[in-house]
């Protein structure tokens, strides 16, 4: 067939099977699904991570609370010790004062006993 023949005899149109809409819709659906997966995955992941962190936070909060209780208990113990030591210090201070007073009483008694001994010695010399 010559060129002229081909020009004069245009090719008969091929039967149209219409394949074009399929890839478009497939691609569109795939992209939409992909976006939905991204969004869904984001939320699922975020929810999972948030829950995990919340669980850790709760655990920490419980532990911190327990620790706080223990520290309060220790603080109370220290306060009680402080009170007991303060009482002991006060009592020791009083004891020191009492011991000084006791020593003074001993000295006074010693002097009085000496005076009594002298007085009795004098009485021996009575007429």
């Amino acid at each position: 067939m010559t060129e002229a023949q081909s020009l004069n005899n245009p090719p008969s149109p091929k039967p149209r099977n219409n394949p074009a809409p399929r890839p478009f819709w497939v691609i569109s659906i795939a992209v939409a699904a992909w976006i939905l997966f991204i969004i869904g995955g984001y939320y699922v992941g975020k929810l999972y991570i948030d829950r995990s962190i919340e669980a850790v936070q709760q655990t920490n909060a419980v532990n911190v609370q327990a620790m706080q209780n223990q520290l309060d208990s220790m603080s109370n113990e220290i306060y009680q010790i402080q009170l007991a030591l303060s009482d002991a210090d006060q009592t020791l201070s009083n004891s020191g004062t009492t011991q000084e007073a006791l020593n003074q009483k001993i000295e006074e008694l010693d002097k009085q006993l000496q005076a009594l001994a002298e007085s009795l010695a004098i009485l021996k010399e009575a007429p």
Binding site: G41, R51, Q70, A84, S95, I106, L116, E125, P127
Partner: protein, 352 residues
Amino acid sequence: MGWKLSLVIIPLFLLAPFFGMAASLIGFEQKAQALSLPILDLNEGVNSVEESLSALRHNAIIMNELVAEQEREYQEQQQILQELARRSQEHKQNSDQLYEERILAMLGPPVESFRSERVEIKVFKLDELGYRGYIAKVKLFDPRTLKVVLGKDTLGQTETTSSAVKRTGAVLGINGGGFYSSVQGGRTRVMPLGNTVIDGKLVNHDFSPSNGDVFFAGINRDGELIGGNFYSKESLMSLNPFQGVSFLPILIKDGQPLSVPKEWATTKQPRTIIGEYANGDFIMIVVDGRQSDWSSGVTLERLQIKLAELGVKEGYNLDGGGSSTFVFQGRTLNRPSDGKQRPVATNIVIMP
């Protein structure tokens, strides 16, 4: 066939990153627990500290109780000591009172008395076989009440005991130490014998060592009787004399009678004596003499016996004879042998 295969492969391809992400999140929860605070690890330490604190508190309480117990014991001991001191004081007062009663029983009832915050004086009559006189028992609460005064407060001058008592405002006065006349520059001065101390100072300026039996007798600043023979100024001043005069002899020392010169021992004369009881009270005695119808005087030997009977611990013979004078509250109680008071170089007075 190829189309169907692409329906499987393409989604798998697209979902591959999510599978990777999902895979990476597997076990994240357990791993996240690693972020929790290692409180449990601290618990042991905290518990240990808490136990230690509890034990410490327990020990502090025990220590407090022990200290409190010790404090109670101290207080109990203090009360016991206080009670002992009180009883000791009572016994001493009883002993002192008993001694005082014994002295007073020997002296008899007082005929005169005087008491102030500074001094207590009780005057007794002395009426023995052959001699009479007066005794003053003097309790000094303030040593400054006993004073030695020069005649007219001037060395070389004389003054009667009554005059000295009146001039000084004293309650009691007796004549003091011996004296002698000295002519200096045509003037006759009456000088105290031996050493005389007034207000802690020697009035003779120069110390006179004891000559023979001449003694110094007086009081120190504590009101205690001091006396004896002194051969150096240091030995006298070491006793811290406050007031004192000199004469002879010493009659009784430490409760024991001393030997007296023979010429003094057996002659009856008017006498003036100063002495001290064991409790520190002073005794001043004036015995009249040379008056046969009243009192012929007393020998020193007899006086020693009398002093011993009275319980006198120390006794010193002061100037006697016509000098012996006893003045109480302005009245001359004794009878001076000259019929009147003799002016003397020194007098001993007791201020109110």
